[in-house]
Symmetry: C2
Subunit: 535 residues, 2 copies
């Protein structure tokens, strides 16, 4: 068989060749909507490759991006790796200190920066040890006022580039193509390097009919940021399949997302639960036509069943929960149904949807405890381990590699059970698990149950030190606006659903739950805040 | 990223793990229907690996199969390559001389043979230079009467094998997994070796929503023989996705296929046009419930538009034409629709369906003539060339490699045009093209047009030597039973549809068109038979 490599270049060429008229709809500010065709995308991507090459980009150069979801970022998704360089997608929600660290650690030489993020970077510039050029992504060729040298206008660079750039044809599939850093429990973020092979294979995986089935006829809107784990791979796959893309730009809100869904007839969209909670709220107040939607994908943290039920029952939109992490490119599993579930009750189906789902083709998962793989009983907890061709085997130049990568498996730090059907169900992070009297209590299960209560907006359950039981659960609850419920009512609401010793010892009501840069509960902070709490 | 290899072993493990209760429905004779689960399939496959290992199979051993579509053949599809050996699927419709040649050429050491094919092989046995063991595939453990030594019962071997066989975990993705031989215009068949990587990648490709979208909820019936180009990859993909399989066994007829479709609620089936012509005929006479069918896949030779129209319009079954060859594993393209065709007329849509379709992900195609790639005008003919990770780069130990593999591309020997939408349309084999007065005439286009005439069952158009024009077309026509039409009527039927110089000079009526072992017109034979014909 031919040793044709699996490289992203083929995706651009396929889009240019077979889908030149299909559209990328991109929002770069609150008012600017750009519509470019895949033909134009191809030309602009080639120009970007040429322009960056002129700035000194060569094979293996790291190019950082600090940008929202828009067509220029998409051009960078291909223009950088297809020239043999590496796109380092920088999470702009990290602290400035961490952003400086990862740019230096990755040794980025060029930064592609959205105009609204540029001031932050300009300020940090003296600390950046390897950056030689700043390219400002904005409409038009104006440049922001700055004392920095080597600041370029993205559009000006493209204007000056020729049309004739050809991607190098000697790329190998195991060459690095992208990088993301993921927050660590302690210390600086850890880097993961994606190869062309891993990104191509994952793109095929999300095109499978039994997965997201992303296809030419889709209108795909990744709400998950393009600076976060490849926007779950959607932009890569969409280019290969010639899918219409809607990139919602900076500072979007639920209203804007719903407007885009209705106006652009979005069929497939993906984001974290917080996004969909907000969208659901807005939709209840001011309903839009959601009939174009074929699937909402949700991941990043546990999805409340009430959220799933609302979309599935009321709006008839399949709401699929997925699991993955920066280390896994990220697709590991999706809560799609199998035929055995066809005649299940709605309740049972929603229960399946709320799991992290069935492991995708080419990926292996095992939930393991000290006895090996846990039984598929929906109860026995263990740590989720993952293996496969788009799973990292190390952190980039980082000693913490050995904590997570053992015996050819990635140890995810997530605690999970296996349902009898073989679906993964995350019950906790290793570090968030509550260990009470030698037994494990899942904070996520308790949170999900609390969030089904009509008065509860959000709930986080954390461990509080306890002399007798080592740890006991404490529920931290944010109520819905205008709602009211007592501590006792909430606890008795849980009593029917869990073993007595699982029920939290108390409830505290908060205005908000602290969250990470990507919207996950920041339980470490919560535990610190509650350190002094007396049960 | 982890260097997890793309190997077929993962498919078996996935089916065993996630789809143990799903069924393989297999017909081994006209009366015997076997239903085994994927759990049993996994056990039997592992036992087969062990049993063949005991017979001397080791890494790289070639194991030939001479078998119809049934569960034992499916077990061999995995039990041989997952043990590191190579399954040589032997086309039982080749001449005995060619069968002997390819067994010797491949150096098969073990043959897995259906009981009804065994007498043929027993007779040829003295000519087989490398075969050490014959394993007879049939229900029960009886053996046919024979003087041959080393004849084993498949079921007996499995009975004696243990349950504990583990597939080797050191397989590499570029290791050979399978072999098929393809007929050559002259000389002996040419061998193609498939690797684990090529078979895994093609399996993903046919699982894509934009391709066949084969999925867990499908009931897939490959009618295309498992001895012919991996049964177009369906059995491999079906195991990975946990798809229910219906394997129709030996000596099936249209009636049996329709019975299986209706009874087993087949959703996806694949075969050559001759099969679907027969099925359509039978359905018209004795209609069955076809409502379970989601798609019929047709390939191997051009599909008459009348056939496509009947299934699409009358029976509401999408009828997708595909293109591929032994050298391409085989999937190259499929005549699926894109969004731009949504509002097209039925006629225009049928015209698209009748093309060989849009090139699939990861595969590159180019139709080239002496000026390079042909324009996408639906008219300019050139030779189709193909490149990609499941395209062969050589014939196995064969000097004819250099005729077909040039500059990294496979030269298919098929003449094609490109439609304005980028769909491939095969107009001829290089050797069947009619060259008249310096211009090319497509025999396939003329045949397709003739076959839309209500009196015509089959038509082949061939070149006849001509003093003035070098060659002129002659139509060879088989009429439908009880139909009648004159030569003049048929020619005037064509006159409205083609340039005057394309219209054949005459028509001869035949009882049948000679065909190859896989149902394609044997035009070389026809040309020889017509050599003396005077226009």
């Amino acid at each position: 068989m031919m040793q044709t490599p699996l490289v992203l270049t083929d995706f651009v060429k396929r889009a240019e060749r077979y889908f030149p008229k299909k559209l990328i709809i991109s929002r770069t500010s609150e008012t600017m909507i750009h519509r470019i065709t895949y033909k134009e995308f191809g030309q602009r991507t080639r120009k970007l490759s040429e322009a960056l090459t002129k700035l000194g980009m060569t094979k293996g150069t790291k190019v950082g991006s600090l940008a929202w979801n828009h067509h220029r970022h998409l051009e960078a998704y291909f223009g950088v790796p297809c020239a043999g360089a590496i796109l380092h997608m920088i999470n702009i929600r990290l602290s400035p200190e961490h952003i400086v660290y990862i740019i230096n650690h990755a040794e980025d030489e060029i930064l592609l920066v959205d105009s609204d993020i540029f001031p932050l970077i300009a300020q940090a510039a003296p600390l950046l040890k390897t950056v030689k050029h700043f390219v400002v992504m904005q409409d038009g060729t104006d440049l922001p006022e700055t004392n920095l040298e080597n600041v370029h206008s993205y559009e000006k660079l493209l204007e000056e580039a020729s049309d004739s750039y050809e991607f190098p044809d000697d790329l190998e599939e195991n060459m690095p193509a992208g990088m993301c850093y993921t927050s660590a429990t302690t210390g600086f973020p850890k880097g993961v390097v994606y190869t062309h092979r891993s990104l191509v294979l994952q793109s095929l995986a999300i095109g499978l009919a039994d997965s997201l089935g992303i296809r030419e006829s889709d209108v795909a809107m990744p709400v998950v940021p393009m600076f976060h784990v490849n926007a779950w791979g959607m932009p890569f796959a969409a280019v290969n399949f010639g899918t219409t893309q809607v990139l919602p730009g900076p500072m979007f809100n639920p209203q804007l997302l719903l407007d885009l869904i209705e106006r652009e007839k979005v069929t497939l969209t993906a984001g974290v639960p917080t996004i969909w909670l907000g969208v659901l709220n807005e939709q209840e107040r001011n309903p839009r036509d959601l009939s174009s939607l074929r699937v909402i994908v949700c991941g990043g943290s546990a999805s409340p069943k009430g959220l799933i039920r609302a979309f599935e029952e009321k709006y008839k939109v399949p709401f699929i929960v997925g699991y993955g992490m920066t280390e896994t490119t990220p697709l590991v599993s999706l809560s799609t149904y199998t035929t055995e579930m066809e005649n299940w009750s709605m309740d049972d189906k929603i229960n399946i949807r709320a799991t992290q789902g069935l492991t995708t083709s080419l990926i292996e998962t095992r939930v393991v405890n000290e006895n090996g793989e846990v039984p598929w009983d929906g109860q026995t907890m263990g740590e989720l381990t993952v293996r496969g061709p788009w799973v990292a085997d190390e952190y980039y130049k980082d000693d913490r590699t050995e904590e997570a990568f053992k015996n050819g498996w990635l140890y995810t730090g997530d605690i999970a059970v296996m349902t009898p059907e073989g679906y993964l169900k995350i019950t906790d992070r290793t570090k968030d698990l509550i260990k009470s009297g030698g037994e494990w209590i899942s904070s996520v299960d308790l949170e999900n149950a609390l969030m089904t209560h009509e008065a509860v907006f959000e709930a986080a359950v954390i461990a509080i030190p306890d002399e007798k039981w080592q740890e006991r659960p404490l529920a931290c609850v944010v109520l819905k606006e205008g709602s009211d419920v007592s501590k006792e009512e909430l606890l008795s609401y849980l009593e029917g659903q869990f073993a007595k010793w699982w029920v939290p010892d108390s409830v505290v009501f908060l205005k908000e739950i602290p969250k990470t840069s990507v919207g996950k509960f920041l339980k470490e902070k919560l535990r610190n805040e509650m350190k002094e709490y007396q049960l």
